[in-house]
């Protein structure tokens, strides 16, 4: 087993816990030697070597001019202020070598070190990374960082008191620090997979409270008191006597005097203040009451004789408080090291959410690499699901990504330049992170693109520019111009057909005198209702709109008449169906189907049945008259509106069209079903847009091969554009550069329609151009259906 050590190194009281016997080469399970690192520790420079640990504390280096050349104070640096400057983001130039020296002094021969770090918001990934960089290197031990409260709790679990621990227990951990107390709440969880092993669960950073009890404040006060007791000024104590530190931290009995060397090399006896230090009654801390905890663990470098003083400060705690033995965190770290070596989790941590902007269905959205509130075991690396739907565009040397960390921090990442690929290359983006071990590793690789497969791009978090824009602003800036969505066929009703045009009786009067048994009335009605007279403004409109709506100015009588006639005709048809007698003519069907969605549902149902019969070649009463197939199929196109019917009819019609038969009726039905009903876009994804596109593609191919123009081409084009209505749901669907189906339509329309030319075919060629534009997503017009309607037979 490897030689493992836990290390607690805050500069106030350092400890290492060694998991092996010194005279034994390898680690022995269960063995733990506590290595005292001394209190108020320093780092000194001797002959260009940096030395830490007790050797440095005791060494004469930097202890004032009285010690000769080696007494130069710049050669001696206290570790606690070095930590403080590191945490405020301004590390001393010697920070790396100082930290290494302090670590090495206590962990000689160790191969694995678990290093305690303060749990406060400043300890973000960049500082974790800085610590790891400082502590690791070639021929150096492996270092794992661990939050100090977690180490503290693990250390407590090892002690005799740890038997109080139970699943779900909430523990408040207080760590005495330079500027107050670091507080963190941890919850104990039992892992069923590890036989109920208790592990602390951490959720976010701890906080610093009670600044008036900070160790630096206490030490300054003790130094003042010492100077005062010896009638000296602080300036004459250049060599920083150890007496104040002894008073605060030294285990009993406290030293009462120190032999101190003055600047002139004379020895002076310094006496401790008679009454000692920490004499004032501390101001009680009240910041803690709002969050409940089952137990409070406190770790402090102060000597045991000051614990009563400390308890007085925390008198108002809502839970029992336990002051841990010195070195508890170090021994907890060793436990963590052993758990890591065994492969069991030493704690559970919550990872910061990390999301990447990706295009989902053409729309930029933040996709989670690490979901919010992800709780992961601390000993294992979290590996995200790979994002595979992104593409590195051809001729692109570098790409831009937007990453969101936490809830608000957004960074823009421009990758280093790579040799641009010649085609679009799909990417594999994956994130790996070990909790509290510095930055997550985000890699962009590729399965097929050789260059990226061999040299995946790794994200360097430190170089990322932080975005000032908000999340929404970034998404908006990334959102391209969406392709045009065709408006469905919607023709409003007009009064002209009701009122009548010169030479033809209006629908109102026809309905008023309508008698179903009178010869000619029905035929007349059927003719009139489909009239499409031109209004004064040039537009044409039928009596009833494509949604079955009536003109707003229509009189109540006319509406009642219409209602009556619909009822009569529906009864008539029902009767025919019920007796199974074929219709004498198509007039009743024509009349009802030209009323579009005003056609009664029962009739619609029968029409759908008739269409199915027509498609399968079976008999139906509606199919008895001459030319009834056309009437039924085109009529169905006008009246069907239920999604269930659409789902049934569209694929059937398409399949029917696949065989070599006259295309007109089927195409008419299909075009109408795809272009008119409100519900069509919603059922298209269910039907499989690519399958529909494939079928239509074959039909279009056949049309161009057979050099067909006119209405069949028109219907085909309307059907194709009808498919584009899916963009109401998926804005970027059926765009030629993403969808092969769309691309294939474009190819056929561009390359194989050269047989349509000449001034007469101008509307056709122009319409085709519009359709191509729509398919390419580069323009087109929303009212494309009305354009296509103008194609003449």
């Amino acid at each position: 087993m490897r030689r493992m050590a836990g290390l607690e190194l805050d500069g106030w009281r350092d400890h290492a816990c060694r998991g092996w016997r010194l005279d034994d080469a390898t680690s022995s399970e269960g063995h733990a030697d506590m290595v005292e690192g001394g209190y108020a520790s320093v780092v000194v420079t001797a002959h260009l070597t940096t030395i830490g640990g007790p050797q440095a504390i005791h060494s004469p280096i930097g202890r004032g001019g009285g010690w000769g050349d080696v007494g130069d104070p710049v050669l001696r640096r206290a570790l606690a202020p070095l930590w403080s400057s590191f945490l405020i983001g301004d590390p001393a130039p010697s920070w790396t070598s100082d930290l290494r020296a302090a670590t090495d002094a206590l962990t000689k021969q160790a191969q694995d070190i678990v290093f305690c770090m303060p749990d406060r918001p400043q300890m973000d990934e960049s500082r974790q990374q800085a610590l790891l960089t400082a502590l690791t290197g070639a021929k150096r031990p492996r270092v794992t960082l661990l939050w100090r409260p977690v180490a503290m709790l693990l250390g407590w679990l090892e002690t005799a008191d740890g038997c109080q621990a139970r699943e779900g227990m909430r523990v408040a951990c207080l760590q005495h620090a330079s500027d107050g107390f670091e507080i963190q709440y941890l919850t104990l969880r039992a892992l069923p997979s590890e036989g109920g092993l208790l592990v602390p669960e951490r959720a976010g950073f701890g906080q610093v409270i009670a600044p008036h009890l900070g160790l630096q404040t206490l030490r300054d006060a003790a130094e003042q008191a010492t100077a005062k007791a010896n009638s000296l000024t602080l300036t004459s104590l250049i060599g920083r006597p150890r007496l104040p530190d002894d008073q605060l931290f030294a285990p009993c009995p406290a030293t009462k005097m120190e032999v101190f060397r003055l600047e002139n090399a004379d020895w002076q006896l310094l006496n401790a203040p008679e009454i000692g230090v920490l004499t004032d009654h501390p101001a009680p801390v009240r910041d803690l009451d709002n969050e409940a905890a089952d137990i409070v663990l406190l770790s402090t470098p102060l000597a045991a004789r000051h614990h009563a003083w400390l308890r007085a400060a925390w008198a108002t705690l809502p839970a029992p408080m336990q002051i841990l033995n010195p070195g508890a965190s170090a021994s907890g770290s060793l436990q963590a090291a052993r758990r890591i070596a065994r492969g069991t989790p030493h704690y559970l941590d919550r990872l910061d959410q990390v999301s990447l902007v990706v295009l989902r269905q053409g729309e930029p959205v933040f996709e989670d690499l690490i979901p919010a509130n992800a709780i992961v075991p601390g000993n294992r690396e979290y590996v995200s699901h790979p994002i595979t739907n992104m593409v590195w565009g051809r001729d692109m040397a570098s790409a831009q990504f937007f990453l969101r960390k936490g809830s608000h921090e957004i960074r823009c990442w421009i990758t280093p330049e790579v040799p641009a690929p010649t085609t679009d290359e799909p990417l594999v983006i994956q994130l790996r992170q070990r909790p509290a071990q510095g930055w997550a590793a985000l890699t962009i690789g590729s399965r097929d693109w050789d260059y990226l497969a061999r040299n995946p791009i790794r994200l360097d978090w430190m170089t990322l520019a932080q975005e000032t824009r908000s999340e929404q602003e970034i998404l908006t800036s990334l959102r391209g111009k969406r392709p045009i969505v065709p408006h469905r066929v919607l023709q409003p009703p007009g009064m002209l057909a009701w009122d009548g045009v010169p030479g033809r009786e209006g629908l109102s009067s026809l309905l008023a005198r309508f008698d179903v048994s009178r010869d000619g009335d029905l035929a007349n009605l059927a003719r009139t209702i489909r009239l499409n007279p031109r209004e004064d403004d040039g537009s044409r409109s039928r009596a009833i709109g494509t949604d079955g709506d009536l003109p707003p100015g229509l009189s109540l009588e006319a509406q009642l008449d219409l209602h009556r006639v619909i009822k009569l005709l529906a009864q008539h048809l029902e009767h025919q169906v019920s007796v199974g007698r074929g219709l004498p003519n198509n007039d009743a069907l024509l009349t009802l189907t030209w009323m579009y969605e005003r056609c009664p549902p029962d009739v619609v149902r029968e029409i759908v049945r008739a269409v199915k019969c027509a498609l399968s070649g079976d008999y139906h009463v509606f199919l008895a008259p001459k030319a009834s197939t056309t009437v039924v199929m085109h009529g169905a196109g006008r009246v069907v509106r239920e999604p269930s019917d659409l789902i049934e009819l569209i694929p059937e019609a398409l399949a029917w069209l696949g065989d070599a038969r006259p295309l007109n009726n089927g195409l008419g039905l299909l075009a109408a079903l795809l272009s008119r009903p409100v519900e069509t876009p919603r059922i298209l994804p269910q039907l499989g847009i690519d399958r529909l596109a494939f079928g239509l593609n074959n039909i279009l191919h056949r049309i161009t091969r057979e050099r067909i123009a006119g209405s069949r081409l028109k219907y085909a084009l309307i059907s194709i554009v009808g498919l584009l209505r899916i963009r109401e749901i998926e804005p970027w669907a059926m765009v030629a550069d993403r969808s092969p189906s769309a691309a294939s339509f474009v190819k056929i329309l561009q390359d194989e329609t050269s047989y349509i030319y000449g001034p007469k075919a101008r509307t056709t060629t122009e319409s085709i151009l519009e359709v191509i534009k729509m398919l390419e997503g580069a323009g087109g017009r929303p009212d494309i259906f009305s354009v296509l309607e103008t194609i003449e037979d």
Binding site: A46, T49, P54, Q55, H58, I61, V259, W267
Partner: protein, 529 residues
């Protein structure tokens, strides 16, 4: 008073010193000045050279080679450096500086014996004892590194390790570590050493021919006969490729060389500690046996030894097992070379050991509280017999009972000064807190000697030079010599001088330190019993 080197008119200057205080020696017996003719000199101890220009110094026709640094300087142009012992004595060793020269005859001192030597005669016994002392000194100094693993209590721990006598384990050595870590590797390699199949061209019976090459085909074509059987002749053999196993590869040669070296060193270690019942010795003894067996097996396979300067091949670098052996072999070779160096510089190692012993003695004075203890950095490689980097003062103790401050410095006076002229490697300085006066100094001279034991008249000799340091508050001097072979530590004291001997292990070491402590308490601190 006649001072050495006072001859005027000559540019170059070269003296051989028998004692470090030779500069102040009023009798003129402790140095020999070189003349323009190479004068022969038979030396009985390592000694020092005093020169005016180190760069001009030639030992055996080569530069002295220590970056021009002096051990100390007595005046600005008189550099004193210690002289290494030669490993072998051939003809007298020429030493020259410019036109001055000396021929040093080392025959009074033993040569460096082989590591595992079993002495035949007295001379070899003397050499073996000296080598054992060198190893023992080295072991004591290395124990500093072990003690430094618990830095807070380093000096008490060092004392505990040193003074545990025969009770505790014998010293941790490289061979102990290897004896713990390597047996599985050797076991594996002994069972299945790597081999190569070598293709050779041979006459083979027809039935055993598996492969023939162009050369064999040509041979076959030239043979008379129609069929192959005819061509094979009456012995029915043809030329063909035979594949032979061969174990004499570089990696196996290295393995054999390692086994030989490890066996010797392990045997030597086990012999030195044959009376100890420690598991370490058991392990090393077992390892000795393991290496012996491996050596036998490899020799039986026809493996030869490798020379120490071979370049590692792919197997040695990348096969995990062989790489372990390669690394271990080089560690042992380095250790072997380190022993050579230690032999050469044993006088300086003795100074280092004495300094450590002084600190151990001082810290064990009742009521001693450390005020300052220099950090001790154990060097990766020795520097002329020294392993320890420190700053001065190396240790300062407050002696509560005596209300005194005791400072110990080691190799402090390097720059020319009055105190540097005394040439003492260790200095004690005693001060009293809150008082300006009352500073006193004591010099400690560690004096290496091949045989050890006290030297008659040394106390008087030291007593005679002490008055020259009166202006510097020099109160007294102590000499520290090695104990005689298998004899107890001795001490003689006069009012201001103490001469004592110090063992390198076990009881003589403990007694030597105790004597030193008593001398410090009684004479240096002036406390009556």
């Amino acid at each position: 008073m006649a001072r050495p080197g006072s001859e005027p008119g000559l540019g170059m200057f070269l003296q051989h010193w028998e004692r470090p205080w030779a500069w102040l020696d009023p009798t003129g017996t402790r140095y020999v000045e070189a003349s323009s003719l190479e004068s022969g000199l038979s030396v009985g101890t390592a000694g020092w050279l005093c020169v005016n220009d180190i760069k001009a110094l030639r030992v055996d026709g080569r530069g002295y080679g220590n970056k021009g640094e002096a051990d100390f300087k007595v005046t600005s142009d008189r550099h004193v450096i210690s002289l290494p012992l030669p490993l072998r004595h051939g003809s007298p060793q020429p030493i020259s500086s410019g036109n001055r020269g000396l021929l040093l005859d080392w025959h009074k001192l033993p040569e460096r014996p082989a590591d595992g030597i079993v002495p035949d005669d007295d001379a070899q016994g003397r050499a073996k004892a000296l080598l054992d002392r060198v190893k023992s000194v080295w072991a004591r100094i290395r124990e500093v590194e072990e003690a430094a693993a618990t830095p807070a209590t380093m000096w008490p721990r060092l004392e505990a390790i040193w003074l545990s006598g025969g009770q505790a384990d014998p010293e941790m050595d490289l061979i102990v570590r290897q004896a713990r870590e390597l047996p599985p590797v050797l076991e594996h390699l002994d069972k299945a050493p790597r081999r190569i199949l070598r293709r050779t061209s041979r006459m083979l019976p027809l039935a055993r021919v598996q492969e023939i090459d162009r050369k064999a085909m040509l041979w076959l074509a030239r043979q008379p006969g129609e069929t192959i059987a005819e061509r094979a002749g009456d012995r029915q053999r043809i030329q063909a490729i035979a594949r032979e196993e061969n174990f004499n590869t570089l990696e196996n040669r290295v393995l054999l060389s390692y086994a030989r070296l490890a066996k010797e060193i392990a045997h030597d270690y086990a012999q030195r500690h044959r009376r100890s019942g420690s598991t370490r010795v058991h392990q090393v003894r077992a390892y000795d046996e393991r290496c012996r067996r491996l050596e036998r097996d490899l020799v039986a396979l026809g493996v030869q030894t490798a020379s120490t300067d071979v370049t590692p091949n792919f197997v040695l670098q990348n096969n995990w097992h062989y790489h372990q052996v390669w690394t271990a072999w080089h560690e042992l070779l380095r250790r072997h070379r380190a022993l050579d160096e230690l032999w050469r510089w044993q006088a300086r190692s003795w100074e280092e050991l004495s300094a450590l012993a002084t600190i151990v003695a001082a810290q064990s004075i009742p009521g001693a509280q450390p005020i300052a203890l220099s950090s001790i950095v154990f060097r990766g490689e020795q520097d002329r017999g020294c392993w320890i980097d420190h700053v001065n003062p190396v240790a300062v103790f407050f002696l509560e009972r005596q209300q005194l401050v005791l400072e110990i410095s080691y190799r402090q006076f390097i720059r020319p000064s009055k105190l540097a002229q005394f040439g003492a490697a260790i200095w004690l300085r005693v001060g009293r807190p809150n008082q300006r006066d009352g500073l006193t100094r004591w010099a400690i001279w560690p004096l290496w000697d091949p045989d050890g034991g006290l030297e008659r008249g040394e106390a008087d000799e030291v007593g005679r030079i002490l008055p020259q340091g009166r202006g510097e508050n020099l109160r007294g001097g102590i000499t520290v010599r090695p104990t005689k072979r298998e004899e107890a530590a001795e001490v003689v004291t006069s009012e201001k001088v103490a001469c004592l001997t110090l063992g390198t292990e076990g009881q003589p070491l403990a007694d030597g330190i105790a004597n030193l402590r008593r001398v410090i308490i009684r004479q240096v601190l002036g406390e009556p019993d």
